[in-house]
Amino acid sequence: MNRLYNLEKQNKKHLIIYLMAGDPDLKTTEKLIYLLDKIGVSVIELGVPFSDPIADGVTIQKAGDRALKQGINLKKVFLLMKKVRKKVNVPIVLMTYYNIIFNFGIKKFIIESKKSGIDGAIIPDLPFDEESEIYDLAVKNDFCIIYLVSPTNTISRTKKIVEKSMGFVYYILVKGVTGINNKRSSFDFRHLKILRKFSKKPIFAGFGVSMPHEVKEILRYFDGVIIGSAFVNIIEKYGNKTEKLLKECKKFVCKFLTGVKNAR
């Protein structure tokens, strides 16, 4: 069974960390995955770079550029995953744009992902009601496509997204792109009620969260919190100083983990 389905059985709050595969290089990515697994992150979101990431802010755009310079593509990510899967059991999902997957071939993507131990994919420019083929293939192959809910979604659409999303639901906290400079919009409780009413799936919230003190409030409403750009900033800062980078990343994530544990 897909590793993501264990999440809803666990009676706890979750921390999800995003990093870009191949930023600054694949070796460091590998080490970071071992680290994140070891210190108790619930899900790892692994970015696959795309030249035109419209839903991402500057931080992740730059991380993608660095990864592209390393020649990162899906094949290399699958190879990396096959290697790390021998050592870690944390759920890992890919985050990328639809053209990357479509170009690779939808069926081939899902089969290769499964073979490499990838549990699901987050595709910000693929709404649940486009491309029914990928949805059907995912269901058939026990692969999760995680759909995103925005605060601007209508109630009827929110209901459908929650129904279709697999593994967990990704709630976007801001009107805007990824990044730490976004002002979070005030939370719409109608949405939360709908999210809860229609599904028992875990709901994780992301976009614009950068400080450990924000975690407590977010976890009052959600089952988990997703940290992306703030973590990528640390990778950017320490770049090729691998030892220092790992140390700083650990320190950063541990602060959030403490917040998450206390929110239980």
């Binding site: 795309f50 030249s51 035109d52 990431p53 419209i54 839903a55 802010g57 500057v58 755009q61 592209l68 593509n73 899906l74 744009y97 639809y98 053209n99 990357i100 997957i101 479509f102 170009n103 690779f104 910000p124 420019d125 693929l126 709404p127 009601d129 486009e130 759909y147 995103l148 809910v149 925005s150 605060p151 601007t152 979604n153 209508t154 659409r157 997204i161 976007i172 009107k175 805007g176 792109v177 976004n182």
Partner: protein, 391 residues
């Protein structure tokens, strides 16, 4: 009638948009459908088309060019005579009227060469709206005059430093702005690209070109034309000319893309000829991409054609074979630029020069009536042509 309910032309198009934009584009689709049926909206649009843009534009018989080339009877649809110098304003005026209807106060747009940016800044000034234009840093360097024009019109030109720093990146950045400012902002897309309803909406606003052409040619020649030619970047001027004629199966249509330095050099913008089906800026369509699905950087001497995607309806028309797509190199376009200047006293935009250059590759009947869409005037290109002549 295409697109279908989900915004598809056959298997092309769609709404591949982040969820944050979804409610907005669904509403835009609904409001646009309503506006289309609203007599008042049509009246207002027609008022500005006539009195502000100067429509109808002439359908001009190019006598000396016809004689020189000896190929059919060549007419030029003079979109270069529109206010601001290109067909772009047909669309921006339509969209800003829609923005006004939706109560939006802020306008954003992307621009490559600056023509769409100028056309957007112009209508924003006309209606007193705040206007931000996203433009690649590279394009800003190449088109400083248009940057100044936009600023003169009261727009803020925002340099885009991401990616290849050209049109596609300007589009990315405009979409990101829209994601952040969904409540206040209307995004005026300049071509038949992007998520539904944009490809259909921009087509409808540009169709005035074909509708006028049909009336005019019947008046002039007593019959429909045999051949239509237009250049294709994103594809708005070409679809504007073609669309009202699609149902007449005998009329041949040619869309001309930019072959840049040559189709085999990798330095071109011929998405339909050399691209693969993919998803860019919200639509499934032909896209120039590498083997991993990364979008390629393109090249054309005509900045308005320098885009790695193409409107989804063109992908559909290519697939059905209704329109033939071909391409013309920078050099061929430059020759046509000079030819039309010399023979007719009309300096065409480098984009439109691609359409003119294509006649040389056709073998029409002597009696064939050919209509070429002269989508814009070439004043903006004088520097580029001058530099090209020096190398």
């Amino acid at each position: 009638m295409l697109p279908d309910k989900k915004g598809f032309f056959g298997r092309f198009g769609g709404k591949f948009a982040p969820e944050t934009l979804r409610a907005l584009i669904d509403d835009l689709e609904y409001q646009y459908e309503k506006a289309k049926k609203d007599k008042k909206f049509k009246e207002e649009l027609n008022y500005y088309l006539k009195n502000y843009i100067g429509r109808p534009t002439p359908l001009y018989f190019a006598k000396r060019l016809t004689k020189y080339l000896g190929k059919g009877k060549i007419y030029l649809k003079r979109e270069d005579l529109c206010h601001t110098g290109a067909h772009k304003i047909n669309n921006t005026i339509g969209q800003i009227l829609l923005a006004k209807r939706l109560g939006k106060k802020r306008i954003i747009a992307e621009t490559g060469a600056g023509q769409h940016g100028v056309a957007t800044a112009t209508v924003a000034a006309l209606f007193g709206m705040e206007c931000c234009i996203y433009m690649g840093e590279e394009d800003i360097k190449r088109q400083s005059l248009n940057v100044y024009r936009m600023e003169l019109l009261g727009a803020k030109v925002i340099p885009v430093k991401s990616g290849s720093k050209t049109l596609k990146d300007a589009l990315n950045e405009a979409i990101r702005d829209w994601l952040k400012n969904v409540d206040t902002t209307f995004y005026i897309i300049g071509s038949v690209a992007g998520f539904h309803p944009y490809p259909a909406m921009v087509r409808d606003f540009q169709s005035v070109i074909g509708i006028e052409t049909k009336k005019q040619i019947i008046k002039l020649e007593g019959r429909l034309p045999d051949i239509l030619i237009a250049c294709v970047g994103g594809g708005s001027n070409s679809i504007g000319l073609f669309y009202p004629f699609l149902k007449y199966e005998k009329i041949k249509m040619y869309g001309v893309e930019a072959a840049g330095l040559g189709l085999n050099t990798g330095r071109h913008a011929a998405s339909l000829e050399k691209g693969k089906i993919g998803i860019l800026h919200g639509a499934k369509t032909y896209v120039l991409q590498d083997k991993n699905g990364q979008i390629k950087e393109t090249h054309s001497i005509a900045a308005g054609l320098d885009y790695p995607g193409v409107g989804p309806e063109h992908s559909y028309l290519k697939e059905t074979g209704r329109v033939k797509y071909a391409s013309v190199t920078d050099k061929e376009a430059l020759d046509a630029f000079k030819l039309l200047s010399e023979k007719e006293g009309i300096i065409p935009a480098l984009e439109s020069s691609h359409a003119i250059a294509y006649i040389k590759k056709l073998k029409p009947n002597k009696n064939n009536i050919i209509v070429i869409n002269l989508s814009g005037r070439g004043d903006k290109d004088i520097n580029t042509v001058f530099k090209a002549g020096q190398t």
